[in-house]
Subunit: 316 residues, 2 copies
């Protein structure tokens, strides 16, 4: 039976609705939480988990009218043990109820039926899974039979995935850039992903198997856009990691679709950025979140005006 939803179509429609491709990462870094939410260094894991839940839900309150999707980073929740995972479950549910698509950043992977357990647990709304995310990030080192279970479950449930292809960190050189006879390692993964996207195409021309491609390597981003015309990109590395609106321009197709540009720290902890510190201070951290989100949208719109990005909206 064909599922009622198609993740790649949902994503295109949501981006057109809000008129921008910003993906807000949810990275509750304990040591950076604003004072009002931070129960102190001696807080136990339950208190930390509760603070994470509040912090992320209050970010969602601000960004839900502005963007299409959020990306909770599992690591920070998992750091707080079971209590953190309870908080993560609540944050995902809250984001969904706020009308956002939820991409769980877990970089999960395993083989065969174990990979299937991850996929079954994470992917699919409306009681189809325990976590009820719309998509998950997946690492490809284990190979095709570690990715296929995620693809199969996603297809069955109207969900999606993003496979690490060329990541934003300097260490991505160690394996991803190494040269095989027919090109770098990341191209081997890219070819697999594009083929799988072709096999799961929606009505908007994209498949449900996306790729993570960093903003910090603009040349590879452009190369991969050409090589993967049917694959959604999740582009990390914007902002704190140094990627600019110009760097990500080549990630988009002629309609301004095809890429989500993520910003986590620069939005979550905008109140600590010099330009917002004085203007808002720690107490008004939510206003800093809003300003930083709007600023990123404006930066991408400026590239649109410059003709570098065709976004699916008329620049204000």
């Amino acid at each position: 039976m064909k599922p009622l939803r198609h993740f790649a179509d949902d994503l295109a429609n949501a981006i057109e609705r809000v008129g921008n491709p910003v993906l807000v990462g949810l990275d509750p870094r304990w040591e950076l939480l604003p004072g009002a939410l931070n129960p102190g260094e001696n807080a136990n894991f339950e208190q930390r988990g509760q603070a994470f839940e509040k912090f992320c839900c209050q970010i969602i309150d601000v960004v839900a009218p502005l963007v299409a999707a959020v990306k909770p980073q599992v690591a920070f929740f998992e750091e707080c043990g079971p209590a953190g995972m309870v908080a993560l479950g609540k944050v995902i549910a809250y984001a969904r109820q706020a009308g956002l698509l939820v991409i769980l950043d877990g970089k999960r992977n395993d083989i065969g039926s174990t990979a299937e357990a991850y996929a079954r647990g994470i992917l699919g709304r409306d009681g189809q899974s325990a976590w009820e995310a719309d998509a998950v990030t997946v690492s490809p080192y284990l190979g095709a039979d570690s990715l296929e279970p995620f693809i199969n479950v996603a297809e069955e449930r109207g969900a999606g995935l993003f496979v690490l292809v060329k990541t934003s960190n300097p260490g991505s050189h160690m394996l991803q850039d190494q040269r095989l006879p027919d090109g770098p390692v990341y191209r081997r993964v890219a070819d697999f992903v594009e083929k799988q996207s072709e096999l799961t195409l929606g009505e908007r021309g994209y498949g449900i198997v996306g790729a993570v491609v960093g903003a910090t390597y603009p040349e590879q981003l452009a190369e991969l856009r050409n090589a993967m015309p049917q694959t959604w990109f999740l582009v990390p590395g914007f902002g704190s990691q140094g990627g600019t609106a110009q760097d990500v321009a080549s990630a988009f197709d002629g309609r301004g679709l095809g890429a989500l540009v993520n910003n986590s720290r620069g939005i979550n902890f905008a109140y600590r950025r010099p330009e917002y510190q004085e203007r808002f201070g720690e107490a008004r951290w939510q206003e800093a979140v809003e300003a930083a989100t709007r600023e990123m949208i404006a930066q991408l719109r400026a590239e649109t005006l410059a003709g570098q990005i065709k976004l699916p909206f008329s620049p204000a």
Copy 2:
């Protein structure tokens, strides 16, 4: 300050104490749980989580006197959402209290400070972390700066890690076996791991950075043992996946150290194996767990008698 514990030494000592290198995987697969523990298809996640906890703790009761370590597979717990993660926390604590080393099979990875959050959350006993595992499995696709935070936290806390090098699944061919100018991709990872183990050596000649190398590729196992004399191996693929005692013989050093041989399904669900089904039946599933564990130990001892493996014990 030098930590009081050293994971690689702890592992060597524990294996010598029990006299075998068997690692019991804890894979609570919902659909295979014995009837008495299985609250039925319509059970909610809390009931499933509780069943997983009981099942794993009852396995631990049986195997704690026999083996050195257990390896909970996070995927099956995570499949049950937050309730599953609560159960995982209890299972880890129970295993620790039973005197076992705990290797968390999460295949986690991320970059920089996010990888550090995983490491800080998972690694280290005695209140050093939320999960309090002794080691974790880690995936290397993101490169050196995704592995170093795990190594640093492990070193600081007397813990360890196992990096995926050459895995047991057929799909491992897709990336791991691909040929770079100086050898296959997995050798690139192997060289990094061996170097890191050299930098973190304990008194028994091994470092804290281990490698996952599958039993299903005996040639590569032998090749990597030679190339990585200071690295502990975690060897999956024994039993259900087809690996035999003979296949893993080359994973050991001259003292019978250097490798943990994992068996998950073949021990957890031994009551379903033809040879135990009639003898024990579903109700006596714990006796089947014990018989299967003892059988695997005996198989490895038989290889010892044949001179293929030097185990650190005198064969009974």
